[in-house]
């Protein structure tokens, strides 16, 4: 068996202009969200007089995770040609590869001995890549999360359920993730509710489901 590692630059050049733009846009988004993750957690720490969490984002590893995800998605596209990519499917692949590559590292692990941090918060810092990916998943699922439901009680209840779902997703990404397909299935099933609007592309052209049932 002859294993050859392809040069990243050659891979990038072979993409073509459109995909290169898509790749750069996604990479900037992933890096931006990781910075938001760090700053929000440190805001909490500063407000509670806890030392800052110092993380290191390995840019090249993040890039590699995105390359792997792109490779998988392009291979899929060869078999199932689609005009518009499903954002849930693409995010499932990004998250799968980010969890596998783990581009984020906590530098000052002594923060995990901090008594003022609860066990849940410690797990969110310890499994920083997974927690970061939970935010990516929720953002991909509900890009219009800010739109409130007409009924506040239902909205509050839904928010509570969403928090529980996020906690389950953290557990799933940490211990149960085996393939992007399983992640995609969970994410799709999470959109089956009338509270927050989902991207129309997700359930686009399902066919006449009533006819299928008959």
């Amino acid at each position: 068996m002859n294993l050859v590692f392809k040069s990243i630059d050659i891979w990038y050049d072979d993409l073509g202009k459109e995909l290169q733009e898509e790749f750069d846009r996604n990479l900037r988004y992933l890096v931006g969200v990781s910075k938001s993750w760090e700053s929000e957690i440190n805001k909490y720490c500063r407000n509670n007089m806890i030392p800052d969490v110092k993380i290191n984002l390995n840019y090249q590893v993040m890039r590699q995770a995105l390359i792997d995800a792109f490779d998988d998605l392009m291979r899929l596209k060869e078999y199932h040609p689609t005009e518009f990519p499903n954002p849930i499917k693409t995010m499932a692949y990004y998250v799968y590869w980010i969890v596998k590559r783990k581009p984020i590292t906590v530098i000052n692990d002594s923060i995990l001995e901090e008594k003022r941090l609860s066990d849940t918060k410690k797990s969110k810092i310890l499994f920083c890549n997974e927690h970061y990916c939970v935010q990516l998943l929720v953002d991909a699922l509900f890009p219009y999360l800010k739109i409130d439901c007409a009924n506040n009680d239902i909205h509050n209840y839904a928010n509570e359920q969403l928090n529980k779902f996020k906690r389950y997703m953290l557990y799933f990404l940490t211990y149960r993730l085996e393939s992007p397909k399983s992640l995609e299935a969970i994410m799709l099933s999470a959109t089956l509710h009338p509270i927050w609007e989902v991207d129309k592309i997700i359930w686009d052209n399902p066919g006449d489901v009533f006819e299928e049932d008959l």
Partner: protein, 155 residues
């Protein structure tokens, strides 16, 4: 009318008046004592006994006063000591935070230096298009709120 009443109340008895009243009363007492004692042959003995008694009472008052003031000063000392210790701790904390800030500043400086070539590289890869995408920035800001809520939530 009211003003006059107020001013009358204010100047009814000053400290100077009190002083002179006390002096006059004291002189009256001395005069009365002189009149009483002048006919008595044991006046010297009586005076010496009275003065001894007064001196004993005064000495006891002085001892008690010294004792009370000593207790008060020791309390003040201990309070001052604790205050100084607290201040010392505060100063140490401030010193630590300043040192951390300086370290952070240096790290940020180093980080910016290390990041700038990467930014340039991204700029080259995007063929000169805008590096900071506003839509991405907005989405990152929106997601920040979600991250904060999620991290604060301990359920």
């Amino acid at each position: 009318m009211c003003k006059r009443e107020k001013t009358a109340k204010k100047v009814w008895l000053t400290n100077r008046d009190l002083f002179w009243i006390i002096v006059i009363l004291f002189l009256v007492i001395v005069l009365l004592l002189c009149l009483v004692i002048s006919g008595n042959a044991n006046a010297t003995n009586i005076l010496s006994v009275v003065s001894t008694g007064i001196s004993i009472v005064l000495s006891i008052i002085a001892i008690v006063y010294t004792f009370i003031s000593g207790i008060q000063s020791s309390d003040i000392n201990s309070e001052t000591k604790t205050q100084i210790m607290l201040l010392q701790k505060e100063i140490e904390n401030l010193k630590d935070s300043i040192e951390k800030k300086i370290q952070l500043q240096n790290e940020v400086g180093n980080y910016i230096e290390s990041v700038s070539p990467l930014i340039n590289r991204i700029a080259q890869n995007t063929n000169g298009s805008v590096v900071i995408d506003e839509t991405i920035q907005k989405r990152a800001q929106e997601i920040s709120e979600q991250i904060r809520r999620d991290f604060e939530n301990d359920e």
